[in-house]
Symmetry: D2
Amino acid sequence: MTVKIILAGPRGKMGSEAIKMIQQEKNFDLIACIDRKNKDVLPEFPVERVPVYYDAAKCFAEVDADIYVDLTIPEVGFPYTKLALEHKLQAVVGTSGFSEQQIKELTSIANRQKTGCIIAPNFALGAVLMMLFSKMAATYFPDVEIIEKHHDNKVDAPSGTATKTVEMIQQTRESKTQGHPDEYEMIEGARGANDDGIRIHSMRLPGLVAHQEVVFGSKSQLLTIQHDSFHRESFMEGLKLAIEEVQSLETLVYGLENVMDLS
Amino acid sequence: MTVKIILAGPRGKMGSEAIKMIQQEKNFDLIACIDRKNKDVLPEFPVERVPVYYDAAKCFAEVDADIYVDLTIPEVGFPYTKLALEHKLQAVVGTSGFSEQQIKELTSIANRQKTGCIIAPNFALGAVLMMLFSKMAATYFPDVEIIEKHHDNKVDAPSGTATKTVEMIQQTRESKTQGHPDEYEMIEGARGANDDGIRIHSMRLPGLVAHQEVVFGSKSQLLTIQHDSFHRESFMEGLKLAIEEVQSLETLVYGLENVMDLS
Amino acid sequence: MTVKIILAGPRGKMGSEAIKMIQQEKNFDLIACIDRKNKDVLPEFPVERVPVYYDAAKCFAEVDADIYVDLTIPEVGFPYTKLALEHKLQAVVGTSGFSEQQIKELTSIANRQKTGCIIAPNFALGAVLMMLFSKMAATYFPDVEIIEKHHDNKVDAPSGTATKTVEMIQQTRESKTQGHPDEYEMIEGARGANDDGIRIHSMRLPGLVAHQEVVFGSKSQLLTIQHDSFHRESFMEGLKLAIEEVQSLETLVYGLENVMDLS
Amino acid sequence: MTVKIILAGPRGKMGSEAIKMIQQEKNFDLIACIDRKNKDVLPEFPVERVPVYYDAAKCFAEVDADIYVDLTIPEVGFPYTKLALEHKLQAVVGTSGFSEQQIKELTSIANRQKTGCIIAPNFALGAVLMMLFSKMAATYFPDVEIIEKHHDNKVDAPSGTATKTVEMIQQTRESKTQGHPDEYEMIEGARGANDDGIRIHSMRLPGLVAHQEVVFGSKSQLLTIQHDSFHRESFMEGLKLAIEEVQSLETLVYGLENVMDLS
């Protein structure tokens, strides 16, 4: 059976990859787009014969879809997703930018409407697993450091994935001071960023894309979990999974790991 | 409260490390050893004032212990463990060498006696987690290869950990052919060992100790799980955990991952 | 001063990258292309206002250039390069496909004409250095294995770079048998391809691009030289270097490492 | 022919490894030790039948040796080495602690006496090559970062090898600012230590021994040179090499790379 999809944010980097993926999947059918900056179907738009709506409400009212996919920015995605759930449209939202209050509000609408919703801060399945495994490992390996490596066009350090990984690890890691109690830096910054005792090191070089290693150390052994992403195409497997899994939900799930089969 | 321990196999590589660990742990008390080759306490034995029994039955009858730790070989370990469980002694056994039939038999004794028993094919927590994570990842990353690296004194290839990892992966991985359908080797062996479609590569060099990388590949992303073990001291954290966890068991558990807290 | 360039093979993968690079470099000026399949300037051709010749001889006769860059196939590149050298055009040729006899012939023309020529089997500077460093290291680290990792569309194994690396290593490595004398494979192929005693392991997975690790092992230490190439754009730095270096040559040089400043 | 060796510093970590190595080598013969804290041959000393001198001058006067090996501390090593060279004893000195002035003075004595002397700040051949290759690569790869990883008993960061590597790289690398001009740290230290624009990241974890990766990045490619040292035994190959090479010298050479055959 074909899944009829409305996509918001079709011109963005993620959105344009998503269009490619949806068109390649036999069971997925892109039936409309929502684009704030387009009032109508534009001739140069890569998706032929798919209507592009300027007005989300109008789109949800007129188009008979199964799933709403939101790849916009948080300010736009929040009202759109609310509207979609009110229309009993199952929703997949790719964002890490919603506040706790917003997630609470969406959860209550999803529950009331018995309509599935998945909010995914990260669609790269490998990154999701890296963070989940790191959380699991930290119970037994409380000594851990993170190296994240990105191209030198990235201005901020450390990466969002690195700080998110620390948050995940904190859920299981017994709080402790790492390193030698008397350690000192001959050159400032050598020991990296100190995030709750966990050191994060940010490498920035041309040639790098997006990589992270989480290194756990214990007596005479190391456990390393590494993710390399070479292109945003790597997010598409996760988006596909979310579209498939949201169909059997009647509530809101935050984080892709919570709909994955991890037996 | 102190845990009173009987150790079998005190002269082996694992056994001698275990003695060091037990003596360092405040809550652990080594109260007897069993050693097939010693008839009595020998003066040169490193463990002073700990009686060494030649006869396991005599040891279990005379010594009031909490836990029996078996670090012998399978042929010796099986009858000893049976005897320990019959004496209602909780048992921790480090071996990958028991047959299914033997495990069944020990399970039925453990259940009848309501006595905990942990059989651990691998005490390195990092290796146990590497295998568990590999099993979990393979659901979503069915394309996977393994590189295992050992010192050049190792005669067999691939390593037991590598083939065990493949077994774990098979539990979740959808069967598939990997690589290009027309791939060919210009030099025989280039593509490694083919274990159910999963390629294993065995590197042997001086300087290496014991290392394994499990590499999962998908569109534009890689997930790598790596374990490095530099010394058999790395097994002691796992042995300690098993000694702690077996105390709350009334049955037999096979594999350390099944007593670990993996939330 | 601007370097005037004729490029043969403009529609190929390397050729189209080269056009981008030449157009971005201030000092480089693309003044003509040679393309066997085009008889004239074609309107759809990406390079506007650059004449495309079908006939190489005609091109060399009519166009006043400094450098001839050949990114065709060996069968085409050999006669074209001969012709270019006869016209006293300095030549940069990207191929690993010329025979020893052909290289000898081109060398003698280059010497006679006092015209520089660089033949580069590999333009990726990182790969060239990896091979050179491997050759240098092997004097002191005769125990070495290679892991090369490519996408799963590659049909042949091991890669040309891996076998070329072995050739380089053989120039300095004292012949020896590696591994344990009694080593055996439980599953055939585990120990990889045996190329003069050096083991090569070929990994093929989706997500991989083109990677190679050369691992040298010695007592309690490892030295690893690794190259990762994510796109053929990585060849352009080397091509640029060759175009710059060929201008001060009056002979033929084979291999980019031989014009590099390696102090 | 057997090389007769006097060793100073026999009780140190390096010294005791050196004794093992010298005794294993057929061509090497340990004929005396110099030890400031021993006045005479001590019964508990591991080297049986080798006289241990308290007084270096007396040792050089009485003992007919070929080579003097200094594995003491700089304050002791400098006067001892001077004395050795005055006695026309070829000297191998393992230290990074001599001042420029001291090296100059030793050089002039060596030249006057026509007696070889090798001063090696690092005997690990793999580390020496890593630094040399890094210097060579930096001509073409000016964007570089260093990750050095050590056990968590190390108090200082970055490591001496890391800062030495930067010094080597500076000899060839065109000075440049790395990273994005607008880059900023969300958590201080994320981008590591800034050593002349080159970032150094120091990881400290139990389980680690002594490791360093030098990562060079360029458009769509990476070149990584990595050294792993698991035990100070790894220094012995380099010491052996120095003992062999010093015999054909009539001057002082600083740095093992300068006596290595790097064709």
